[in-house]
Symmetry: D2
């Protein structure tokens, strides 16, 4: 049960409400976000919702039987739009495109990518500075030095930055240099990280886990929301199956399902999904038709020389064709 | 290695060729299809292809290192078009749409469906008369009586019939009443059935197995082709994964991959794929964008009363909207 | 609901019973096996079982809510023992061991294997004469000629034969030359084959499908049983997962679960399960501890020269050590 | 390539070695653990190992082509034994048993469990104080207060403590109150956490991820080892598959494979594996036969009242029977 509190609720009214809930054997979780105050009530037995509904200081009450509550569409019918400022939004009437290299490599590469994005009117650049790698001996990213350079060049050119955060201690140091925090597939159930990202006022994109269920992804989003951050994006990036013909099995079924169950925008990542350059654009377009609000793709001036993920990274010309087609398709479905 | 024989090859020339192959320690498999004669050579060691290439009676030679040979695109660049007669083709410049109920139930239902198809200019009707059911106590289809009624009504109205064949003994009795044989997911590696279907002159649509790999699907198609039947369609219908939010995980990655590896047309089955009526049309359209040559969908006048699979079956109005959108999309990608 | 009919039930009594069931809106399936007559009732709504229970001609009635009925332990508490004659049983107080090559190759190999089995007091020989192969160009077995040789040598030496049947038409021709029919993983849901195997009086071992669920395996067994054959064995042989470190993921969890849900004996196949010779014995022993009634393993005088599956086939000495250990372990758990 | 440095290597000798490696285009990673100094060389091209082998200050050199190096058995033949002090070891000639509740709930429960362990001569107690829960509204553990109580009671009774650590910041605060850090399935690729655990001198048990491969588990262990901590345990706890008859699919194949590939001890967790109380003991015993060096199980005085995981938690009597059988079985295989 989600109880939206009135903005004018008094302490006395709130105490009365919490007492009523307690008397009904309902566990209360107070949630204060950037926008609203809520109480999430987890009832142990059935009860008559009217006994609460007429208390003072309540704006609205919704029963939500799913394990996830605040991210559910059962409660919030209108779709969430994420506003990154400077007229850059995700989840609205325009397809959001996030493009850039797998890893930030050096300043020249950043500049080069920024020019590519400017030329194509792409407003969000992706790029990793902290890289999760299965081997400890592999390149693990440029870290904060890379991020600062990355952010500086983007900022100067009106481009927003999305980059992966891997642990709690990085959140604060990265905060001033990102526009969207990305939580990777391996951290999709790193609950401490999700807790802390719930306390900041920057949007968070959460990727589905390697073998994460739809329900788990929504529950992970609930972690962030219930800690105070409503600015959330969900991302399908491929799941692990028995099939070895592609890197991961991009699961486009997840897109209509997530949009049915949740009010949050959904992004598709075909680069990690199918993981084969020659098919990335096709899967991106299929993702748009499946209902994605945005696409996140890997692009590099010279994919064959990229520090990581070269085999799934588009050449500029390939990416440009994709941008054009994706925008047209998004407007025509 | 695929050796295409000249139409004018003589017995002496062929003997000479077989002798040469044998001398090179290459195992020969002679394949005679509706269109051509081939020898599939499986070499045990490396050899110089020129020693064969200049023998008489050979039209062309192709090295194909994959486990599948004749269905590979490495050998045949031009895409295969399946001609069902009366200007109904699959794999060409028009999207093939196959629609109809999960199970053929009675004559009224057949007529009703035929009218729906005629109204929408759909040329191929699907419908099961032999139903694979996990429980022996469930409805198993109307059998040959149902098929004869089904075929009669379709034939009278210029509509082609696709229906599932489940075992070898059914092939002959069904032969005069089908336009396309369908091999279901559970029979995707029923090699005896595939052998026999290779001996008839009717197209065969092979569904990917429940947990079938791309490679296995192509090898199953190779069974049919190498027995003499070049008229083949491949079908993605969802795989089995850990995710329970949908019936199966429709794997659209398979479509660009199959079209890259094989010259055969690829059909997408979103009804069994996602298995939820409200998302079937979305996934069908995503499948078209992913490169499908056709879609096969379940439609019923009253899905809630269907003998089987009602929850994934479209209402007529839903289907009509899908037909329109799918045709437009196919022409614009 | 399972109604066991009395051996002395009269036609009039049976008609009265069927009428009662029909009146209660219960669909009846009559089952006549080697041992008993049953009626499987599938009720559409709830009803009072006492209204049937006091009719004449009924021996016993059991409610079974699972999709599978006759193979369920809810109905038959005592474990089923399969009697192959000559004091060879499966499911009793001795571990059943079935050993032999993947493929029957020639008479010398059969004789050699028989001597190995005799030396070790193993009573059941496995060996394939019809081989399901993903490629049509691979060796597909010696067929009936091989089977006749195989059976002759075994018969002369008091050894029972288990071999795979791949299609309906083979059942009759193989019938006199097998002691146990084996249904392979790819045919685990070949319902026509299961139907026909239900009509013969030879035991049937059904392997779990590549990605078959426990429930599906039991439903496949129900097909055979409900067609009249109670002599059934279930076999865990590994499932398909994302893990590539082994051929299949031998799923030992299935053993205690199958023995909890069904009264049928359970056999473990570690050769196909883990698929690596050096670990086959370990997994066989773990399977025994997990509760298997028997093991089926691949053994060959010279595994490196076997026609198929050599990498998972034991040398004689390895097998002999396994036989000894497995028998001891079985008696001590 | 692993270069074990001599304990008496001089700075000059080490510089010469690093220079040689650099000259050979080999990337060097210096590793200093509790026991030894190593250089892990990642060569870009093939080279003659003798050019390095005769330099001074080198104790031994091993080629290891796997992605993981220091945890590989190719380098270290002798199995690793983890010494927890007070004669409690893991990986030696005795089966290690770790038992206790899923969650630490209160002091009475700790005492009660300790008495149960003392009675059965079990030396290691498990219990969670930081609980990863998919829902933010679920019980998340007693935290440090619970851990201090847990450790105090165990310490007083000569029992070692194993408990889960979920994030970097917890490592330091937990350090004095744990004997073994446990990394849960969801954190199996939390590389920052693994890095930090590599810097402490306490053993670390790493669970395989939800859909983790064998190779990924070993690479995660390599993270800890290459940061300086050789005291490592690997744990199989069930993987995620399509099968819903059990909580997870306990993958016993992993045990012989991990013991073949690595010198580290392997623990089996049947409680999370099969997740059904009535089968936990059976799977634990099967795990012992498969080669596990230890078992970790959930036990509670009143499983039905446990704060979490009650359905997979053993009653004391069940656990006691398991302890007895497991110890006997371990000595007899």
């Amino acid at each position: 049960m989600i109880i939206q509190l009135s903005d004018t609720i008094t302490s006395l009214q709130k105490d009365a409400l919490l007492n009523s809930l307690s008397g009904l054997n309902i566990k209360s979780n107070e949630v204060k976000t950037q926008f609203k105050n809520y109480i999430i009530g987890i009832p142990k037995v059935d009860f008559d919702i009217r006994t609460i509904g007429n208390l003072d200081g309540i704006e609205d009450i919704h029963r939500v039987s799913d394990a996830y509550k605040l991210v559910s569409k059962k409660w919030k019918i209108n779709r969430t739009i994420i506003d990154l400022g400077d007229d850059v939004t995700i989840g609205g009437n325009e397809l959001a495109i996030m493009a850039g290299p797998c890893s930030i490599e050096n300043e020249a590469q950043i500049e080069n990518t920024v020019q590519h994005l400017l030329k194509n009117n792409i407003k969000i650049m992706r790029g990793g500075v902290y890289k999760p790698r299965s081997s400890p001996y592999a390149f693990r990213g440029l870290g904060m030095d890379g991020l600062k350079l990355f952010y500086k060049h983007c900022k100067e050119n009106g481009i927003k930055v999305i980059t992966e955060v891997m642990q709690v201690s990085q959140v604060e140091e990265m905060l001033d240099y990102v526009d969207v925090f990305q939580v990777g597939a391996r951290n999709s159930q790193n609950f401490n990280l999700l807790d802390v990202l719930g306390e900041v006022d920057k949007p968070v994109l959460i990727k589905r886990g390697m073998s994460g269920t739809i329900e788990e992804l929504l529950a992970s989003a609930e972690y962030v929301f219930s800690n105070g951050n409503e600015k959330l994006l969900l991302c399908e990036r491929g799941i692990r199956t028995y099939e070895n013909a592609y890197r991961n099995t991009l699961d486009l079924n997840a897109i209509p399902i997530l949009k049915e169950k949740s009010h949050l925008p959904v992004i598709v990542d075909p680069s990690h999904g199918i993981g084969l350059r020659q098919h990335v654009a096709t899967m991106a377009l299929a993702g748009v038709v499946a209902g994605a609000d945005g696409i996140i793709i890997e692009v590099h001036e010279q994919p064959e020389n990229a520090f990581s993920d070269g085999q799934q990274t588009l050449y500029y010309e390939q990416a440009e064709e994709l941008y054009r087609k994706a925008k047209v398709l998004f407007q025509n479905i």
